[in-house]
Symmetry: C2
Subunit: 181 residues, 2 copies
């Protein structure tokens, strides 16, 4: 389907509550383990989502509106979550993510974007010219890519425990495909 | 990690609330679209999870305890959700899934399974001899495989809308790997 701003906002609104319902108070054996060296746990992923709320989505949207294609976005730091998670509990991160997302959606709605705004162009440091519509659709799809990742990372913890059923569980065949955003 | 029954129950307890927070009242453009012919929408997946609660996990667990390896499980009908979703709304399915899961976890806890029970063996119609421990670990991993699937199916709806960012979104590279359970 084409990008639809109300649909994007509906999804963005629900992600913090969905992650909260899945992860809050879950044993650390699920939330603090990763898929091996240089991979992320669910805890790391929430830190990454927080970092995106602070530095990626709304800051870039405002740059499109203010500077158009004349100025490139700041490159996103894929390891920028390191300082977000330092000394925090998962509960704190979930609360922080919900708070930042809510504030950002408040700002987004206050922009009262119309169809012509969504067609405005900005400049991504690697991808080149992108539209505001594409940026906002990516914000929603980025939530889904990390929900996809969290479910895979958690399922990985039971790779041996499921015995012969591993052949039937699609999530255990998924090689992981994450990259920068 | 090895199978841990309390960890399994923690996850199984949270899945209905997580899916509810993600999907309830979300626009149908997200929840009723699939990935093409003979694939499932998020709505179909909830029907499948309901069908599993009725016919797969606890019925099989009780068969292991009652019959051991002497009697094969009933084959699971991967298209059995067709009758679960007929004439229902997504809201009704989410409520039904939560109710059945809660009942099943009540039954599971009432069995008061010890380590020696978890080692008991049953017979899967295709996989052969399996343990109760493997069955219960698979119940949890199966929730995760479908959360993984739902996030992928939903992200697919924005495949075009994200423009050049599609190259960066891991979920859009995932080919899907689901099979029978």
């Amino acid at each position: 389907m084409e990008h639809n701003l109300p649909n994007t906002i509906s999804l963005l609104t629900r992600t913090p509550a969905a992650l909260n319902a899945l992860l809050r108070d879950l044993p650390e054996a699920w939330t603090f383990r990763n898929e091996g060296e240089n991979t992320w746990s669910a805890f790391d992923v929430i830190g990454h989502l927080i970092h995106g709320e602070r530095t990626d989505w709304m800051p870039r949207a405002k740059m499109v509106l203010q500077f158009g294609e004349t100025q490139s976005f700041e490159p996103f730091d894929r390891w920028g979550h390191a300082r977000e998670i330092q000394g925090k509990s998962l509960t704190q991160l979930l609360d922080e993510f919900a708070r930042l997302r809510s504030e950002n959606l408040g700002e987004l709605c206050a922009l009262n974007l119309g169809p012509e705004d969504l067609e405005r162009r900005g400049r991504h440091p690697s991808l080149g010219v992108v539209s505001l519509s594409e940026l906002l659709a990516t914000w929603a799809a980025h939530d889904l890519t990390h929900l996809h990742q969290i479910s895979r990372v958690m399922a990985h913890q039971y790779r041996e425990a499921v015995g012969p059923w591993s052949a039937y569980l699609g999530v255990l065949q998924c090689a992981g495909h994450s990259s920068a955003s």
